[in-house]
Symmetry: C2
Subunit: 306 residues, 2 copies
């Protein structure tokens, strides 16, 4: 333990009421107001989730927290606190740590998330960041992957594809959006998009034991996906990017038809809500282009091992 | 995400009532019975905290959870759940992951800890394990580093030094011991020994704003420390090992004198309790050998950066 570094972290860490005991002891005590705690962890690595030599370290820190907040958003949970585990390169690690922490604190402040503790280490390898986020669920338990019903519409926030051009570092986790939508509308199931629109929709299908049809012409394609598709000089690729690129950190929601209509008329968010298709009884995932329906392989799945 | 791997993890994971929603969704929901949640994280790296080529991967997994349980023990908290973050070598990572998880589940079962979720990744680097443990504090808040008072005795569990010979992988976190002692005796402060007996005692001193004197002849020296000292053929080293080696994962407690007397007479644990000195008003840390008092430098501090 580098005591001075941790002490500096502590001094710079805002205090929130829910963190009864924060950085500087053996563990953190959280007051979750008698509610269930919602906890999630993500581990990000230099060279995989970001390239440290190409970005300010603040962005790596911000992303490490943001992906966790996106996980909480996918449950409509309210983020409360986080723990920050760092494995720092021995050379230059201290400077990196400070900047990473800046990035974490900046986003934490936006969402009133207390940094409740962590673990700081160094080694001869690349930067690894492990953030654990803790939140509280909304009344009635929040949004899960299970619960989509045949007939439900597939409603998404924002646009998809080309996240590697920048959004994967700068995205705004849909925390307030999810909490608002869950409060105002009936939502049967949901997930955030990290693996890809198709792949993460497939996660809902597995848990909900149903199928889905995506309408090709309805998928909101980002400018970044269009730019990348144009750069590669191949037609029709922008849609593929929107379906498979991943790291959009938008929400996919299963919403009953009448609620969807109300939601789309209201458009209550600053980010657009789009109906991109429907859940169906038959298991499987299809892409419908005009009248033609083809099987959609969720390519977003990353195979971990050689 | 390697869906099959996670699915296998899920199938092998015992279900406990406190994990309302476990592996397989975006985050875990914990029922902490209306109590405060206690959370802690530790990140362990191949080549630093264990050498994967020299041990069964199960031991790395066991250690990754055990160090977190030791942190909870240092608060007298009851462990309830954990999240497991893994960064696996791309080559052979799947086999390693299974064995690591075996080690985690084995220890988790002993302490009825639910694995509530996690994050599984791979890369071309070495194994990194990030475990987050969540528990509940005992009534009246539990043990902290702050609170030691001049006159309090320094009471320790077990023996110290030479942990690298094996104990650092096989140690039993002092979970039940801490909960029992906190219930049965007045304890002012405490910590678990990861950095070293002297270094971790120094953490209590910083937080409690006081000093301490360790009586050299009272320090319980482990057989491993004696063996290592003998092997190095230098006299007097076994005590140094006990003071500075670290990773003993025993408890250091600040206990009022009358309570200490009662505690040592009772010897209520299966592991010995020893009074190794006293807290004093003057800030500093000393080693007393007979009548001679020398300043004790807490060498256990590891400097993180080159």
């Amino acid at each position: 333990m580098e005591f001075e570094l941790i002490e500096r972290f502590r001094q710079r860490t805002p205090v929130y009421p829910c963190v009864r005991l924060g950085i500087g002891d053996d563990a953190a005590i959280l007051d979750l107001s008698g509610q269930h705690g919602v906890v999630t962890v993500d581990v990000l690595m230099d060279g995989v989730d970001f390239v440290l030599s190409e970005i300010p370290p603040e962005k790596a820190g911000r992303k490490a927290l943001a992906v966790n907040l996106s996980d909480l958003a996918a449950m409509a949970a309210s983020p409360k606190a986080c723990l920050v585990g760092m494995v720092l390169p021995r050379k230059g690690g201290e400077r990196i740590a400070e900047k990473v922490y800046d990035g974490i604190l900046g986003l934490a402040r936006e969402y009133q998330v207390g940094v409740a503790g962590g673990d700081t280490n160094s080694w001869d390898g690349p930067l690894v960041l492990s953030v654990t986020a803790i939140g509280t669920p909304p009344p009635f338990g929040g949004i899960r992957r299970r619960g989509a019903k045949p007939g439900d519409r597939i409603v998404v926030t924002g646009e998809f594809g080309g996240s590697s051009l920048g959004k994967h570092l700068d995205f705004e986790p849909r925390v307030w959006e999810a909490i608002y939508l869950y409060r105002a509308y009936e939502i049967h199931a949901g997930i955030d998009v990290s693996d890809g629109l198709a792949a993460d929709l497939a996660h809902i299908l597995v848990e909900s034991q149903c199928g889905a049809v995506i309408r090709a012409e309805k998928v909101p394609i980002s400018m970044a996906a269009l730019d990348l598709a144009k750069a590669s000089r191949k037609g029709g690729k922008a849609l593929d990017r929107a379906l498979h690129d991943g790291e959009d950190f938008e929400l996919i929601l299963a919403v009953p038809p009448a609620e969807t209509e109300r939601m789309l008329q209201d458009q209550p968010l600053s980010v657009p809500l789009t109906d991109i298709g429907e859940f169906v009884a038959e298991k499987g995932l299809w892409l419908q282009t005009g009248e033609k329906r083809t099987v959609l392989e969720p390519k977003g799945f990353v195979h971990l091992f050689a």
